[in-house]
């Protein structure tokens, strides 16, 4: 049994068409809708699909022939009944399968490769593609490495930010995005570098210079067995003296008057101006008070010495303290003045605190701290009055002096500050 397929009416009202090319040869098996020929009408070259599945028995025209509409075109041996008409033919003519879509597809598909069924399983709707040309890529003329799918980061960022992240070695996915639509911004990268704002990590910086020196000195200081005692002193009279003398040349200050009291008290308790020498188990008593003044400079803590402070009156002491403090802050002070102190005075009251327990400087047996002057309700002449009160603390080397002596020294200083006239008797 055979079937003759006659040239159908292809449109445009034409009565004949030219066979441009055959896509099949006699003896080929064809699938339903497989393109069997290109035919030309007045306006177009069109592909002619096969209306049957089967074997081509005879082609009734040659390429270039003009065929009347309705004239025999192809004679088929139909496929066996029950054959799925949409199934591709078992052995399609390979020369009919070349792409016409592609200019660059002179090459045939790889020899031996069977065309896939022309029904792509992912299609939706009813796009039946039976009879379509096979989707085969032309062989590349250059080597192409295999495709490797890279996991896409869920992070979103504009290209300059991505580049910045790459340069800084930051994983965008690990950055908290604050931009609109969850986009990582430059500021987000900066924050990522600094670490999470909520829990700032420790920051380390190298201890150098004076900081390092202070660390060493204070560590050494703690090797000295030391104790402290303190005294609250009504300094109202001393401050009155400061005010009374304020207009004079070389006026004293509270600090210089305290220093004066310290210097005057030392001879009654020489152990506070001494040093313990552990190598020889000796105590060295100093002949003069080189009064160290603790100075908080920008670069750290310095102790500048006013050597032989006993030779200076309160006014001269004020000037000497101011001068060495200024030199210490400016960094112009000499090394000798930074190492020669025998007894140190630290005015921590300038920082607004009531007092503190200072640590001994190596080679000294005592250090005195002054707190801030407070206006306080205070017993005065049998009643309570607002008085100016200062806390004085002394830390002492317990190898050199005991609490009794240190307290005696502190009381001597305190009394002179409460009653400055005592200094007349001692000075």
């Amino acid at each position: 049994m055979s079937i003759v397929f006659r040239l159908p009416d292809l449109g445009e009202g034409l009565t004949e068409s030219e066979i441009v090319s055959w896509k099949v040869a006699e003896g080929d098996q064809v699938a339903l809708n497989q393109v069997i020929a290109e035919v030309e009408t007045a306006k177009a070259v069109v592909d002619l699909p096969s209306p049957y599945a089967g074997t081509i028995r005879r082609l009734h025209a040659a390429e270039g022939d003009t065929v009347e509409v309705g004239a025999p075109l192809v004679e088929y041996e139909p496929a066996a009944p029950g054959t799925d008409p949409a199934a591709p033919a078992a052995a399609p003519a390979s020369e009919a399968r070349a792409h016409e879509d592609e200019p660059d597809t002179e090459q045939q598909p790889e020899p031996g490769s069977q065309p896939e069924p022309e029904r792509v399983p992912v299609l939706v709707g009813s796009v039946a593609v039976a009879g379509e040309k096979r989707a085969v890529r032309a062989p590349r003329t250059f080597p192409q490495p295999p495709f490797v799918r890279e996991d896409r980061s869920a992070a979103r960022a504009y290209p300059p930010v991505r580049r910045l992240a790459k340069e800084r070695g930051i994983d965008l996915a690990a950055v908290v995005a604050t931009g609109e639509g969850g986009v990582v911004t430059r500021a987000d990268l900066d924050r990522a570098v600094r670490g999470p704002a909520a829990a700032p990590g420790p920051r380390r910086e190298k201890a150098t210079g004076l900081r390092r020196q202070t660390a060493k000195t204070m560590t050494a200081a703690l090797t000295v067995p030391q104790a402290a005692c303190f005294l609250q002193v009504d300094v109202t009279e001393t401050l009155r003296l400061v005010r009374d003398l304020a207009d004079e040349q070389g006026a004293p200050t509270l600090l210089s008057l305290v220093a004066r009291a310290v210097v005057l008290a030392v001879p009654r308790t020489p152990g506070v101006n001494a040093a313990y020498l552990p190598e020889t188990d000796e105590i060295e008593f100093r002949p003069a008070v080189n009064l160290g003044i603790a100075v908080a400079a920008d670069r750290g803590l310095l102790v500048a010495s006013v050597d032989d402070a006993g030779r200076l009156d309160a006014g001269a002491l004020a000037a000497a303290i101011a001068r060495c403090a200024a030199e210490a802050r400016a960094g112009t002070i000499g090394m000798a003045a930074l190492t020669s102190a025998t007894l140190t005075l630290s005015n921590v009251g300038v920082f607004g605190v009531d007092g503190g327990i200072p640590l001994l400087a190596p080679g000294q047996s005592a250090i005195i701290a002054l707190g801030a002057v407070r206006r306080m309700p205070w017993e005065h002449e049998g009643g309570v009055a607002l008085r100016d009160v200062l806390t004085v603390t002394v830390t002492f080397d317990h190898r050199v002096v005991d609490g009794r002596e240190a307290s005696g020294f502190l009381r001597d200083v305190g009394r002179m500050l409460e009653r400055p006239g005592l200094a007349l008797a001692r000075g």
Binding site: M1, S2, I3, V4, R6, L7, P8, D9, L10, G11, E12, G13, V20, N33, E38, K43, A44, V45, V46, D47, P49, P51, V69, G70, H99, D101, E102, P103, D104, T105, E116, V120, V122, L123, V124, G125, S126, V127, A128, V129, A130, G131, E132, K133, A135, V136, R137, A138, R140, T141, F142, Q144, P145, P146, F147, R149, R152, Y158, G181, V183
Partner: protein
Amino acid sequence: MTEETLAPETLAPETLAPETLTLGAAIGRALGDALDADPDVVLLGEDIGRLGGVFRVTDGLQAHFGADRVIDTPLAEAAIVGTAVGMAYRGARPVVEIQFDGFVFPALDQVVAQVARLHYRTRGRVRMPLTIRMPYGGGIGSVEHHAESPEAYFAHTPGIRVVTASSAQEAYSTLRAAIASDDPVLFLEPKARYWAKGEVDVDATADLDTARVLVPGRDATLAVYGPLVQTALDAAAAAREEGIEIEVIDLRSISPLDVDAVVASVERTGRLVVAHEAPAEASVSSELVACVAERAFAALEAPPERVTGYDTPYPPSALEQHYLPGLDRILDAVDRALGRRSSRSLPAGGAR
């Protein structure tokens, strides 16, 4: 029976299995069903009546519905569309056929200056439920003016929908929606696909403004419409052999563009390739790439790629296969979008 002689009408819709139609026949079925369903529907066009259309799309309709509903017009596109405007004013629902893409330009004035703005001009009092059917696209070996893709001219014009179809079912459902719509619609028919067969469910409906993901994929988004949809599906199948998953989106509507759908896809894939037969300059791909850059810039892993006709007049048919985006050019663009080697990385003058 030793020999069965087949009538010339072998390929006509009536003799195919009931549910399987060519795209062209599906359009004819949609027109017939619309004429049947709505007495206001009237067809106008050159050679659509007695001849049945140069592509046989309207074959038999005049004989069935009469010459006052399937009207043969003079060869005068401006007059055809202008007549349809007047008929729409009087309550008709005209469906106009422009015989070929390259012949639409005389009608451009009517479309741009009247059809697209009457609703606006009359503050909504006058609707223009006009459908303009037009075969477009190349690849059929035709002479000049018969293979062009002028969709961008119309997409640029506010007030008119521009849609296309890629399969028989799409053609049927979308054309029915276009005719039913009270908006003017330019319905573009991919003429190279007129003979592509597919199952058609005449009860299935379609809208006029959404894109459709035909193939899901993780690696790149390939947005196409009309005649290149099949090429894109082929490209996706070929790429899959290399392990590359291309997500194929049939835009369906050219104006308005379903940017949401493409943006959602690009958010998944990070890469975009747009292909169409029309030249690239000021084209549908220009608009789509711009919209995606505005909306999904941070999601893009690579610059968007375009595969289009060249910025030349449509070439003589002997050269058209070099002009039209094909499977290899599309896959080359996918390779570029994926950061792989492509033909462009070859030295100038090298083999391609």
